[in-house]
C-alpha cells in the first residue's frame, strides 16, 4: 500500500520547476500529484508519478538532487469533516504527520490525500481498521 513519492531540491529561481517537468515529460513520465514546500531560498518539490524509479534515474541524470520516500494515499469522502475523521484516527494512535497534500481524483465524491507519516506501516493498519480507504500504489500511479 506504500506509495513512492519523489522529492526534488529546487532553488527559488525561475525556470527550475519547468525544467523538472520538461525532463519528466520528455521521458514519458506522467505526474499524478504535485506539491511544493518552499522557504525563501529553496523549495522541495514532491511528486507522485507513474514510474517513480525511472523518474529518479532521469532526474539524477539531469543533475537534480532527488530522493524517494514512502508515503500513503487515502481517499476520504468529499464533504465537511471528511479528512478530519482520518486525521483523528492517526492522532489517537500517536502517529505523527510530517506533511500532507491533496490531489485530484477521478470521482467527484472523493478527495485524495497524500500523507507523509513517521510510521507508515502502523498507519495503514490503523486506517484500514477504521474503514478509511487506503489507495494502492498502482491506483495512484495511474490516476
Amino acid at each position: 500500500m506504500m506509495v513512492k513519492q519523489i522529492s526534488v531540491f529546487l532553488e527559488n529561481k525561475s525556470g527550475r520547476l519547468a525544467a523538472v517537468t520538461r525532463v519528466l515529460g520528455s521521458n514519458d513520465i506522467d505526474i499524478s500529484a504535485l506539491s511544493i514546500a518552499d522557504t525563501t531560498d529553496f523549495g522541495i518539490l514532491r511528486l507522485i508519478v507513474n514510474d517513480p524509479d525511472k523518474a529518479v534515474r532521469v532526474l539524477k541524470e539531469h543533475g537534480f538532487t532527488v530522493r524517494s520516500t514512502d508515503v500513503i494515499a487515502i481517499s476520504v469522502p468529499d464533504r465537511p469533516g471528511g479528512l478530519a475523521s482520518a486525521l483523528d484516527v492517526l492522532e489517537r494512535e500517536s502517529i505523527g504527520i510530517e506533511y500532507t497534500y491533496a490531489f485530484v481524483g477521478k470521482k467527484a465524491d472523493e478527495a485524495l490525500v497524500i500523507l507523509r507519516l513517521d510510521n507508515p506501516e502502523k498507519a495503514i493498519e490503523t486506517l484500514k481498521k477504521n474503514n478509511i480507504k487506503v489507495l494502492s500504489a498502482e491506483d495512484v500511479y495511474n490516476l
Binding site: S7, F42, T65, E98, Y99
Partner: protein, 433 residues
C-alpha cells in the same frame, strides 16, 4: 608634536642600516641558541649565526611561515622561558589552533613605542582623548593602541568594540579627539550618529587610526567627510607585534614602518627572490628587537610595495603601500581572518561528504556580510523542510563558533557553483575596496 621619536624616525639611512645590522646579528644569534626550530631550519639551510655579518646577509636566512607557529603550538617559537613572558595574545585559529604570541616586559615597552609613533603620526599628543574601539582581549588591537596612547600621555577610553550608541554618546560627552577602530566600524558609527541626530560638529574628533581590514581611498573620503576627521591607515599583525607595524602620516602616502624594530622585504612569492625597491610582491618581516617571539623573515602573505624616498613629513623610514591582496586565499571579514579550508572542515563535520561550497563576501551598509553557498548533495538532502533548515542552522552555528562571525548559509542546487579547470572557485569578493 611632529614626531614621537625623531632620532629613529628621521635617521639617515646609513646610520639606520648600521643599527639594523647590529640588531639582526644579535637576533640571529639569539634564535639560533634559544629556539630549536630556528636552529634546525638554519642548519638545514647550511647557515650558522656567524654567516650573518650585516643587513646584506638577511636574504641568506630561511623564511618563517604561519605554519611554523602552528607546528610549534603553543610556545615552541618563544625565545625566552615563560617566566620572562608577561603577556600572551593569540589570533583566531585557522584549523582550530590559534597562533600564539608572547611578549616580555621589554616587548610590551617596544609595542608601546611603535603604537605611540602611530598615534603621533595621526596628530595625537598628551592632550588627546583616545577612544579605543578595537576589541580588547586576545586580539592585539585594543591593548596595543592602548599602551601607545598611554605612553604619549593621552587620556585613554578603553571602550572596546560594539555598543555603538553608547560609543557615540561617550564620544560626544567625553570629547574624544582620536578614534581607533576598523574603518568599516567607523562608517557604521557615522551612520548611527546621523540616526541619533548627532552631527560631526557636536564632536571634538580630529583623527582616526583605522586598520585591521583592507579599505579604499573612497572609503577614506567618506569617513573623513562624515566624521570630520583625518583618517589614517594603519597596519599590523600579531605575529610581528600587533598594531604599530606601520602607519600613515598626515600626508597619506604610504605607511611608515619603524625600521629600527622591524625590517621589511618585498619578495616574489613564487621564486622567493628579494625584489628591488618599488616592486610589488609579498611583504616579509624580520623583527630585530623582540625578545619573546622574534621572527626571521616572516611571510605575511600580504601583497604590498616599499618606498624608500624621504616623506614630506621628514620621516626617513620606509613606507609600505596599502595591502592590495593576498598570496593565499585568506579573506578578512570584519577584521577576522577566514580561510576557505576552515569552512570546508565545518561542512565535512555536518555531512557525510564535503559538499561544493563558495564564500561570497559583500559590503552591505559598510559592514562585511558573508554568505556561504553550499551545494546540496544526496547525503544532505531530505524531503522535509525542517531537516534542510536544520542543516543550514547547524552549518551556521558551527561557522559562528569556529570563526566568531555570523554567516548566511544558502543551500543551492548541485553543479551551480562555478568551476574553473575542474576546481571550484571558492571565494567571490564583491566588496568594492
Amino acid at each position: 608634536m611632529e614626531y614621537w621619536n625623531r632620532i629613529y624616525e628621521c635617521m639617515p639611512r646609513e646610520e639606520l642600516t648600521r643599527i639594523q645590522s647590529e640588531r639582526l646579528i644579535q637576533t640571529v644569534k639569539r634564535v639560533y641558541h634559544n629556539v630549536p626550530h630556528y636552529r634546525e631550519k638554519m642548519q638545514k639551510a647550511g647557515i650558522e649565526p656567524g654567516d650573518i655579518q650585516s643587513l646584506d646577509d638577511l636574504k641568506k636566512l630561511p623564511f618563517t611561515y604561519k605554519q611554523d607557529l602552528r607546528d610549534t603550538y603553543p610556545y615552541g617559537m618563544f625565545a625566552v622561558p615563560l617566566t620572562e613572558i608577561v603577556r600572551i595574545h593569540a589570533s583566531s585559529g585557522t584549523t582550530g589552533k590559534p597562533t600564539v604570541v608572547g611578549y616580555t616586559r621589554r616587548d610590551i615597552d617596544t609595542w608601546a613605542e611603535v603604537t605611540a609613533r602611530t598615534l603621533v603620526c595621526a596628530g595625537a599628543n598628551k592632550d588627546s582623548v583616545v577612544q579605543i574601539a578595537y576589541g580588547y582581549g586576545l586580539f592585539t588591537g585594543g591593548l596595543g593602541i592602548h599602551y601607545g596612547a598611554e605612553r604619549i600621555g593621552a587620556s585613554v577610553i578603553p571602550i572596546s568594540g560594539g555598543n555603538t550608541k553608547r560609543q557615540i554618546q561617550i564620544m560626544k560627552d567625553f570629547g574624544s579627539t582620536i578614534l581607533a577602530c576598523t574603518p568599516s566600524y567607523a562608517l557604521y558609527m557615522a551612520e548611527e550618529m546621523e540616526a541619533m541626530g548627532i552631527k560631526k560638529e557636536d564632536l571634538k574628533l580630529k583623527a582616526g587610526v583605522f586598520g585591521a581590514e583592507p579599505w579604499s581611498e573612497q572609503m577614506r573620503e567618506e569617513i573623513e567627510r562624515r566624521l570630520g576627521v583625518l583618517a589614517i591607515d594603519i597596519y599590523g599583525l600579531s605575529e610581528v607585534i600587533g598594531p604599530g607595524v606601520a602607519s600613515e602620516c598626515k600626508f597619506k602616502c604610504g605607511m611608515h614602518i619603524p625600521e629600527d624594530h622591524f625590517i621589511p622585504e618585498i619578495i616574489d612569492p613564487d621564486t622567493e627572490e628579494v625584489l628591488p625597491p618599488g616592486s610589488t610582491g609579498e611583504l616579509v618581516f624580520t623583527t630585530i628587537t623582540k625578545e619573546g617571539l622574534p621572527l626571521i623573515r616572516y611571510r605575511t602573505r600580504d601583497i604590498s610595495s616599499l618606498k624608500y624616498d624621504i616623506c614630506e613629513c621628514g620621516r626617513t623610514c620606509v613606507r609600505m603601500s596599502k595591502v592590495t591582496g593576498r598570496t593565499d586565499d585568506m579573506l578578512i571579514i570584519r577584521g577576522v581572518n577566514v580561510f576557505p579550508s576552515q569552512i570546508e572542515s565545518v561542512l565535512l563535520e555536518v555531512g557525510d561528504t564535503a559538499p561544493h561550497y563558495q564564500l561570497v563576501v559583500k559590503r552591505v551598509d559598510n559592514l562585511d556580510v558573508l554568505e556561504i553557498l553550499v551545494e546540496i548533495n544526496q547525503s544532505l538532502f531530505s524531503d522535509e523542510v525542517k531537516k534542510l533548515e536544520t542543516v543550514e542552522k547547524k552549518i551556521r552555528s558551527a561557522i559562528e563558533s569556529v570563526l566568531g562571525i555570523s554567516a548566511k548559509v544558502t543551500l543551492v542546487e548541485p553543479k551551480t557553483i562555478e568551476r574553473s579547470e575542474g576546481k571550484a572557485k571558492r571565494v567571490i569578493d564583491l566588496r568594492k575596496i
